[in-house]
């Protein structure tokens, strides 16, 4: 069989840094959707335990090293991380009958926005309260990035991860780059 090379949605796109804030495409990871069947919660919890993960509550993620299980909707979570390809086959076997498990890796574009203007930039596009009290480090939200559906994770104090449908990658980049430019220009004008 032909050896196919996986390409990310924005492969070759250089990062954009303005006012010490950087918009970049995240390194490619495996993304596996886990949707527990009715009555499957216990079996799902048992299958996740050896991997040090729990099925996340809404707006949360369960993290073990580089592996994350991110809440992405009603009775749905995404297993994200470089370790996922090795664990996914075993997990899929133990989850058989307890949850629907599908590979979503090529369906999403993942961007990171990091730096002092990250939050202000997102606030132009995202209808969420992004202050620390409402959206702390580790928080997850399924929300909108302007008109696009989005999964937003606050990875660190000044770092956010934005997941959009792969077909929206360039639009998401354009929206975020424009919002970051606006914020950087405003900072320039004030200094």
């Amino acid at each position: 069989m032909a050896e196919l090379i996986a390409k990310s949605a924005l492969a070759g796109h250089a990062p954009l840094t303005l006012a010490a804030t950087t918009l970049a495409e995240a390194p490619m990871t495996q993304i596996t959707a886990i949707l527990p069947f009715p009555g499957g919660a216990k079996a799902v919890a048992a299958a996740l335990r050896p991997f040090g993960l729990t099925f996340p509550d809404p707006n949360r993620q369960s993290v073990n090293g580089a592996m994350r299980l991110v809440w992405t909707g009603r009775e749905q979570a995404f297993l994200v991380g470089p370790a996922a390809p090795e664990m996914a086959p075993g997990l899929a076997a133990t989850l058989d009958g307890a949850a629907a498990v599908t590979d979503q890796s090529d369906g999403w574009a993942v961007l990171t926005l990091s730096g002092p203007l990250a939050r202000e930039t997102l606030a132009r596009l995202v209808p969420l309260d992004l202050r620390d009290t409402a959206f702390a480090v580790g928080a997850v939200a399924r929300s909108g990035l302007n008109h696009m559906q989005m999964i937003l994770t606050r990875s660190d104090t000044a770092t956010y991860e934005v997941m959009v449908f792969r077909s929206m990658a360039r639009t998401a980049w354009h929206e975020l780059a424009e919002a970051l430019q606006t914020q950087a220009a405003r900072l320039d004008a004030m200094s």
């Binding site: 527990p36 216990k42 809404p58 009603r74 009775e75 969420l128 939200a141 399924r142 929300s143 559906q149």
Partner: protein, 91 residues
């Protein structure tokens, strides 16, 4: 305007899609006559006061929600998930 999704919490109106009266939840039974289907599809109350709507959290968790609100005061009284949580299933 904000709705408090039972899963996601308080969210902006932009995240939701409005579907109309919750009459759509009361689908006629198989074999019901044309009048029942006509009522289901077309007959709607237009209350000054409490009303029940269907909303879809399309930019959020993809839940169908039943919203109880007041058309006079614009108060939102309740937002409930249409789907009952599956017994022993995921949260």
């Amino acid at each position: 305007m904000r709705l408090t999704c039972p899963l996601c919490g308080p969210r902006d109106r932009r995240e939701f899609y409005y579907y109309g009266s919750d009459d759509y939840l009361n689908r006629p039974a198989e074999g019901d006559g044309p009048q029942a289907w006509d009522a289901y599809l077309h007959l709607r109350d237009n209350p000054a006061g409490i009303t029940h709507d269907l909303w879809y959290h399309d930019m959020g968790c993809s839940s169908w929600l039943r919203v109880t609100r007041n058309t006079v005061t614009h108060e939102i009284h309740a937002v409930d998930a249409v789907a009952a949580p599956a017994k022993g299933g995921a949260k």
